[in-house]
Symmetry: D2
């Protein structure tokens, strides 16, 4: 079958690979729609080390092609979505309510990391009953594919921020995950949502998803501006959706004592993430720093799909570009360059 | 001054009373707008025992008339709202994060219970710095008065229900508190909100506030209907907003194992509230029953006001009737009879 | 193989049965030590309906006899303990952090309920990697067998009670689960542990496990006595370890506003469990009622075994009687009659 | 009256000062016993900026000398303890369950920071009803004075660590706060408590307070040693009780994915506290960093006193030295130098 692979650091291309096989609890999915993620770009740039002939991708929906003998809830022909993160549900980390960390740090992240990803004619799904979800009839493939990572990760950012009803939150960076964190904050009942962003198209989408004010860091110092907008109280919570030590530092600075810093950015560089000592109240101001990796699993997916079904979330305005699978290299280059106002490129496999 | 009082069980009327005085940390508020609450009706009917010459009412906004010497944040002339519940913030219960229970069960409930209420020319506010909040300029008195109880109690119902993003919830009864519980569920990101109600006007408002489906208990058995609407899974949470043992029983029945029953109804009758043994999983199905009394306090009020300011909540469609203060007896009778499609009667003091 | 079975309601005996077989993720355990549980007695008395030729028992340790092809962490000859509750870890309930409710209310309870139990020469363990744990060398079989249910359930009672460090708790009934709830309260840092019990041997053990005072309900009204011992404040939490509506009622009465009632008793009788309306603060006193079913799983078992290994808990004083497997009927009769000061009868399979 | 003051950075001495006066809700306490805290030393060294003629000290018990007119629960002659932290209970931070941050970061910390401390003949206590607690008859002054800070802060370290029953925890540094964190971990039911310390006397006390193993960082690399002692799993939680960026880094390294880092150390130096990026799972390993400032308040104090009353904690082995009030300068110098195996010097005022 055809697959879009990373050959080595910095090099990608379409390749011919063996079709995957399903063990007793697994399934094989035939992707119909997919999205490229910035973390695919990070991976190709070497963020998780070298890889050879590794299929990329972790955001797809598709049709179940084959199921293992022990799979009970799915059968060939079912329209289904698989989470970007596919935990081992019996692992001790999952038993401890941290399934994304199953069998080691970030261990639930298997696609395009420790096994082939989903940008291929067929993709292998472990623990199919637990990691797939049926897509309701009135939810489109394009909508559903946003549940795999963007909605799940972004909303988690807001959930971890523990925003009180009517509370205040700042969301740093309005890429697709940040936009979904903004929407997540709205879905948690925030009363003031400050979206930190300088790109006009992203500012516009941030407002669409519920930002009550935009903080343009090219116009203002964001820390000062957020203090001003909160009558010098600081926000109840700040969400880091970029993955930069400097941004985390700003998050700590703008959060009130007793507030939460919720990190969803992938910190790809540097030896340390720096917490500013004084702004952090010399380690005693009760500004907790909470982190997470995209939640996976059937239950999570079903809940996110329910929001789509009820029309409470529409992620499709984030689809700025579309490509056929045989053009995926081009889509990838665009995601890499972040040119042309790209937010998410949708890949049509069918 | 004039006050609307309960003379004895079953008897109310306007009376002349002494003006209240402010101790060092107190304030005196001159009400401008108020709302009558069904619990005022319960009180007059004897639910908390007999009272003599007790001023009724606990939902008002107004103008600060006088402040004690130790009050720092308010001064005469300020436009302010006071919570229906005015806790003693130094009490052990408040230190334990249960301020509404300060100095005894329901001890934060002072107005029209252990001291004169707010339906008078002047009302006494304890711990003014902690129990009043300034009303933002672009929030009307009518909007603000809903934060005192209806929004605070209803939203608490949703907060206690611990609804996951995209989760399912049933809200039993769509009176004003139930309607705000429905809105609260929407503000918590619920994906399916089933509003149990038979009165058409209330059904309509329920949909306005975010109900995704109406369960009319005159047309269907609500337990069966909710099971059907959730593919026999039950809801993640059920909110009891009526105060009836029979309704609580239905809440237990429709909640999935591991879900929450959030009680906000005032249970006014009977020796027991009955939990159905088998539906409750013989005490082992992890269906927790959580209760609460309206949260008060400046921080809570400020957060609720922020939702009004941002236009995220509009409670005014619940105002079905309006009266001047000298017509308050008439308003009270209407609230008692629940006739004429009444939801909330707004009282103009000014 | 030989098994101790329930033939029908009220009738038990040893029987010859087929040996179980292991599917790909399963294991077969050969029990070495076991304990009879009061819930085995309930089952034989018909509490969960009729059963035919069902092997009883759910508290054993043993030697792994056989493992399925997909089992990674265990191999034949390993000394292991299996939880009384063996969840389906991929189920939605487990994904929601309620594994004991997997695939339906109490669905993790499989042994001697929906499949053969453990009182046999061989027992079948589902999801072996997730539901078994190795027993450390310096923990005896007799100690380890208490982790399966008594320690896990009793400690859960204390965990759900959410006892603050230095807080106060009342534990109603000091059978083996109640005793472990008492020990659990001590392990949570309670400052006052009131053990409600009238049997002298159990009172003594309660003190051994950390009770700071005994409330003998044959000498005092327990509600009055507990109010007296807490200067009329009530306890921070009450644990129901009997399974009686009357006891739950007392729990509600003795718990302070804002406190927790933690139910671990199996409520075997009556249409309703009755919550006393006034003592419950008419549904607004923030006295939450929390329930649970014994947590299972490898992680839980490992943590409980660690307490045994460190010498922080010694459950063996609860072993009041010992029997060989061929005398199990006699042990069962004793557990049924609760005669001879029995707390737990240890069964030797080897 | 006589007071032990900081004259300027680096300079202390006894001085004559005006006696404090009680406002309506305040009390004046006459100290009988006190303890010097390392944070007094930090203050004199300039950690919180310069101060002139500021009375030092925040750990005392004493006799109530005078109460304001609105104080209800205390009267002159009462034996009482005051928390090191004396929050404004009506502040928004306290309403948000962060009383130690009332009216600004660390705002509950008033003694020897924003007002005169307790090392004087008389000390001023704000909100006396909420910030004092009566000392039970069978608790000595020396025992009680440990509740003000050492027990409250140390135990908070363990509470924030969210240690599961039977879980594993590493406590970095075994000064008096670290020792109480170790005891706190024991009181939370930890199954393995690894105390990181190199001073033999402190190692011994750590074992006395419940450490199951000592990690001597002069003998082993503590990160490697802790990994080894946890079968390479890492601990469920790590407690930082020193206040060093390098130590926090080790805490992050030894904590398993999904675990907690609980900071109670006062970070006195450097621009940043450094979080190691890779060990922190690039910001996605769910290793949350939680901080806190000593909880104060009557309820907290009463709970800690209850542990002393029940004999469940004995802090007095930490008293290594004793001084009369007129020798306090000498005690202070010893605390500064950390010589002579000092842990805590007890000051006799009477």
């Amino acid at each position: 079958m055809q697959a879009f692979v990373m050959n080595e650091i910095g090099e990608t291309g379409l390749a011919e690979k063996e079709e995957p096989e399903a063990g007793p609890t697994d399934a094989i999915l035939r992707p119909t729609k997919g999205l490229i993620c910035t973390s695919d770009v990070h991976t190709v740039h070497g963020a998780i080390g070298d890889r050879e002939n590794l299929t990329l991708g972790h955001e797809v929906v598709g049709i179940v092609e084959e199921v293992g003998e022990a799979v009970e809830s799915f059968e060939p022909g079912d329209r289904a979505v698989v989470g970007a993160i596919t935990p081992d549900w019996g692992s001790e980390a999952a038993q401890d309510d941290h399934p994304s960390q199953s069998n080691g740090a970030l261990g639930g992240w298997k696609f395009a990391n420790v096994k082939d990803g989903t940008f291929a004619e067929y993709a292998h799904v472990n623990e199919a009953d637990a990691n797939l979800a049926h897509i309701p009839d009135d939810v489109s493939d394009e909508e559903a594919v946003y549940t795999t990572d963007m909605m799940s990760t972004g909303f988690m950012g807001a959930e971890h921020a523990d925003i009180p009803i009517g509370g205040t939150v700042a969301v740093f960076a309005q890429g697709p995950v940040g936009l979904m964190a903004t929407k997540g904050a709205a879905l948690q009942g925030a009363g003031q949502i400050l979206a930190v962003e300088s790109v006009p198209e992203r500012q516009e989408l941030a407002e669409h998803y519920g930002a009550t004010e935009i903080v343009d860091f090219e116009e203002h110092d964001p820390v000062e501006r957020i203090r001003e907008l909160t009558d010098d109280r600081g926000v109840d919570a700040a969400i880091e959706a970029l993955g930069s030590s400097a941004t985390l530092e700003q998050c700590v600075a703008v959060t009130r004592p007793g507030g939460k810093i919720s990190n969803i950015g992938y910190h790809g560089e540097g030896e340390y993430v720096n917490v500013p000592r004084e702004e952090w109240g010399v380690g005693m101001a009760e500004k907790d720093i909470v982190t997470g990796l995209c939640p996976g699993g059937r239950l999570r997916l079903r809940r996110l799909l329910r929001l789509l079904e009820a029309g409470l979330v529409d992620p499709t305005p984030m689809t700025t570009h579309e490509f056929d699978f045989d053009e995926i290299e081009e889509a990838f280059r665009l995601m890499e360059s972040k040119e042309d106002g790209i937010i998410k490129p949708l890949i049509h496999f069918d």
